[in-house]
Amino acid sequence: MTAADRGAELAERVRAGDRRTLARLLTEIENRSAVAESALRVLYPVVGGAHLVGITGAPGAGKSTLVAALARAVRSTGRPAAVLAIDPSSPITGGAILGDRIRMQEHAGDRDVFIRSMASRGHAGGLAAASVDAAAALDAAGFPIVFMETVGAGQSEVEVASIADTTVVVEAPEMGDEVQAIKAGLLEVADIVVVTKGDRPGAQRTAAQLRAMLTVGATDEAEAIRRAEAGGRRRPKRPQVLLVTAPTNDGVPELLAALDRRAAGRDTAMLQPARLARAAAQLDAVMAERLRARIRDGRHRHRIDALLVAIAGHELDPYAAADRVMAILDGDEPANDAEPDRPAADRA
């Protein structure tokens, strides 16, 4: 069976609601395989209905516990929910410990909560491609809301905002002073900021500080839009700040209501910038994958390796080397997906 046939078959069974096949397709997606690509080509035109919610924040801030509570809230409205929980891969061995399910045990017996752990696998930009594709597969399987929990983020891991419809930034109480709240980075990409562990001392104060600092010095909204548009810049977001105590459910229905309000506005202008940003991230990621695959192609390896040695020896600067790589690739035959070393009969 060719990759295209197998991909089409997987796509059909996923659409029919087969959870075992969904799990298999997610593995193909993680492996960036030809089968996954074929399946996604079939599925892409028929998906797009799901609300993709990114959940990010520092390690230990309470992301997994919040996602478990959100899944509970979604279930209480009768809808199924999907969770993609991403944990880091070892940069040394490539191995990973995926521990997010520990906080989501209450859903383990529920067929309508599909939880999938993914290792980040450390390929630049590739995680964005794999997680958007995984969300598309979950969308195709009929999940109207997909929570994507990122690896514990530092100040600048803002990639999730480029692929999610809605970005929720999770902050634990007492994690920093007011100046932390006005630094550029993670908080800026939030559509909603959630202060977790709301029963801890200091939680109220953290929420109040964030509310104050996220608006301090910001101009009036209409004025901000006018000035950003006049200058050709994206306009800053004005996130809502919510206080949540996930284990007791305090604040969780309000958070889900805020998410559902955004989903309801999906056909309007509200989510359009997010969807265009995602399209750009997807195209970038796939282009990068294709370019890397061509560079690694056996035909070019010797010439590329020679360029690497020249860069390392400071005989050639990386910019000139990049120009030469582009020239090498420009010289490729147009239809060059198959490896040339093998006879045609072995391909596909």
Binding site: A3, E28, A34, T93, I97, L98, I102, A108, G109, R116
Partner: protein, 136 residues
């Protein structure tokens, strides 16, 4: 296309709360390059089978120190088969009397690892015995 990684689900069925061994193994297998899903304590056979399905695990590793293995392990194996996961490698670690091993293997366990097993032995066994994937 990137290199396949073997995905191992490590679970503690039943009521014993001693998971140091499970955590040591999870960490050790991480260092051997495996992707390890750790599900936590007090899992029912239903929870383990459902997690193995959603995660598309290649291996289910059960850690049991409570003595309830003859009740729990066959149920996990049966539920995995019921979910269409008969090709998943099932291993058991913990305190398992030698006399029980034959019955566990009969129930569907591929290998029992006793005290003193090294991480390297487990990793080597998993690499050698994991199911092949139907598509590249």
């Amino acid at each position: 296309m990137i290199e396949r990684r073997i995905k191992v689900l490590i679970a503690k069925p039943g009521l014993d709360g001693h998971d140091r061994g499970a955590k040591v193994l999870a960490r050790g297998l991480r260092d051997e390059g495996f992707e390890v899903v750790y599900t936590g304590l007090r899992q029912t056979p239903e929870m383990i089978a459902s997690a193995a399905l959603q995660e598309d695990a290649d291996v289910v590793g059960l850690s049991i120190l409570s003595g309830a293995h003859m009740t729990l392990v066959p149920r996990v194996c049966r539920m995995l088969r019921d979910e269409g996961l008969g090709d998943v490698l099932v291993t058991v670690g913990g305190i398992i009397p030698d006399d029980d091993i034959a019955a566990l293997r009969e129930a569907g366990v591929d290998r029992v690892f006793g005290p003193g097993t090294t991480i390297g032995e487990v990793a080597e066994y998993l690499r050698d015995n994991v199911r092949p994937r139907e598509s590249a």
